[in-house]
């Protein structure tokens, strides 16, 4: 479904991605963990070309791309197949909730307006925001904005949705409902690649957990393999640090 091979990305003299490789199968939920600055956000941003990787290969569905020689047409093709949910929501500030969801359907998918509206209403109903259709982002809480962001991504029916710490800008009491919603996204069979520090989410939902550090993949496996049978010393240290700062309910 989605495969990245040997991706490299520098910001000036700073090497951020140093040959990480990642594979996500269709309908899988893959979670990326890693310390701050390890290049998780950069990796996600390189997938839909918000950042341009220097080297490596990207495969999305049947589109295969070499980062070095990528063409404008290929970038658009990938962006249509990949949805993105931002840490700070990034809703269109000049559009209402329903317009945020509709706009891509009309402009990119070329749906007639009435049909786009119907789809957008459905998507917003699904994230339980039917009563907020005509609200502007500034009139919505962080949690509500993130739900619009998720509805906007889902309505476009992408092959895969990337989530970059979707709950880390939210108040603690709103994190739960957003994670719950993401679990429902997973239940719909949508392929997801999620960067998060919510270990409980990874444990409950992920098919695969990837631990990144220093721009490479250090260790990957099922949640059980990674959390309960950790192989690498670096992973162990990272998990210990997260567990000491967060109290999580472990089901295993």
């Amino acid at each position: 479904m989605l495969e990245i091979k040997n991706i490299h990305k520098n910001f000036g003299s700073l090497e951020v991605l140093k040959g990480a490789s990642i594979r996500v199968e269709a309908h899988q939920v893959v979670v990326i963990l890693g310390p701050s600055g390890s290049g998780k956000t950069t990796l996600l941003r390189c997938i839909n070309f918000l950042e341009h990787a220097d080297k490596g290969e990207l495969t999305v569905g049947d589109t295969k791309i070499d980062f070095e020689t990528v063409k404008r047409r290929e970038i658009r093709e990938v962006r249509k197949k990949v949805g993105f949910v931002f840490q700070n929501y990034n809703l269109f500030a000049n559009k209402t909730a329903i317009q945020n969801v509709m706009h891509g359907l009309i402009v990119v998918k070329k749906l007639p307006k009435a049909e786009a509206r119907k789809k957008a209403e459905e998507a917003l109903a699904w994230v339980k925001l039917s009563d907020k259709l005509d609200y502007y982002p500034s009139q919505l809480s962080g949690g509500q904005q993130q739900r619009v962001g998720i509805a906007r991504a889902i309505a476009m029916e992408p092959d895969i949705i990337l989530f970059d710490e979707p709950t880390s800008a939210l108040d603690p009491e709103l994190i739960g409902e957003t994670l719950e919603l993401m679990k429902n996204v997973a239940k719909r069979g949508i392929t997801m690649l999620v960067v998060t520090h919510e270990l409980s989410f990874a444990q409950d939902i992920a098919d695969k957990v990837i631990f990144m550090d220093g721009g490479v993949v250090v260790e990957e496996g099922t949640p059980d393999e990674l959390f309960n049978h950790t192989k690498e010393e670096r992973t162990k240290r990272f998990l210990a640090r997260i567990l000491s700062t967060k109290t999580i309910k472990t089901k295993v």
Binding site: N48, F49, L50, R76, R79, K80, V82, G83, F84, F86, N88, N90, L91, F92, A93, N94, K95, T96, H103, G104, V107, V108, Y135, Y136, P137, S138, Q139, R152, A153, M156
Partner: protein
């Protein structure tokens, strides 16, 4: 001040309002279009063009407006015959309405300021707004047109209103080129009776009303664009 002369001049001034409005708003339209292109080139540092425009704008900004207008009309009269010959046109200098030259001059006068206002607006929009557009598959142009531009206008309306006011006032300078306008119309009406004070006050009154209206329309647009959207402070 004699009321009779005053009203004579006022009537002459009012008759010329369309002339100033045409000059003001056609200059504005062209400056917005050109200014946006310049702002984009300078913000995204397009090689060669960006530094060239930096210099050009800085230099143009330094000239007094009436000097620019004088240079325009002189350059025009000096080169008219060459241009006509070059283009194989069969016209004389009298066939061309000088208002076009006035508009060219006013564009040169206003462009640096207006493109700077637009650049400020562009810089005020968070990068995430572009990225949101790209993430749903929109092109750079679609994102700019549907997401960035409307937000930019909301940000710049107060400052732009001011630029339009300045531009409206500059239209009174075109009489150095021999182009008729509110001020010139009013003065012409005064020559017989030699009532220049009345003429100037009449012209001032007309400009005040126009300025007042521009300000009002600016406020209205501001309120409209701000509807429901967070104020950037």
């Amino acid at each position: 001040m004699k009321a009779q002369y005053f009203f004579l001049c006022l009537e002459a001034a009012i008759r010329k309002i369309p002339q100033n409005l045409i000059m003001c708003f056609s200059t504005l339209a062209i400056c917005l279009a050109l200014g946006m292109v310049i702002a984009l080139i300078r913000t995204y540092r397009i090689p060669v063009l960006a530094p060239l425009l930096d210099i050009l704008m800085a230099v143009t900004k330094a000239f007094p407006a009436n000097l620019i207008l004088l240079i325009c009309i002189m350059a025009y009269t000096y080169t008219f015959n060459d241009i006509v010959t070059f283009l194989h046109l069969n016209i004389t200098i009298r066939d061309v309405n000088l208002i076009y030259i006035a508009i060219v001059g006013l564009i040169i006068v206003s462009l640096p300021g207006i493109s700077e206002v637009l650049r400020g607006g562009l810089l005020a929009i968070p990068k995430g707004q572009f990225e949101a557009g790209y993430s749903v598959g929109m092109t750079a142009f679609q994102t700019f047109r549907d997401i960035i531009l409307p937000q930019m206008f909301r940000v710049i309306i107060p400052v732009l209103t001011n630029s339009i006011l300045t531009l409206m006032k500059s239209t009174a300078l075109v009489n150095v080129m021999g182009v008729s306008d509110i001020l010139r119309g009013s003065i012409e009406a005064a020559t017989d009776a030699y009532c220049y004070l009345e003429a100037y006050v009449a012209a001032a009154l007309v400009f005040w009303v126009l300025g007042f209206m521009i300000e009002k329309i600016g406020r209205m647009l501001e309120a409209r664009f701000n509807k429901g959207i967070r104020q950037i402070s």
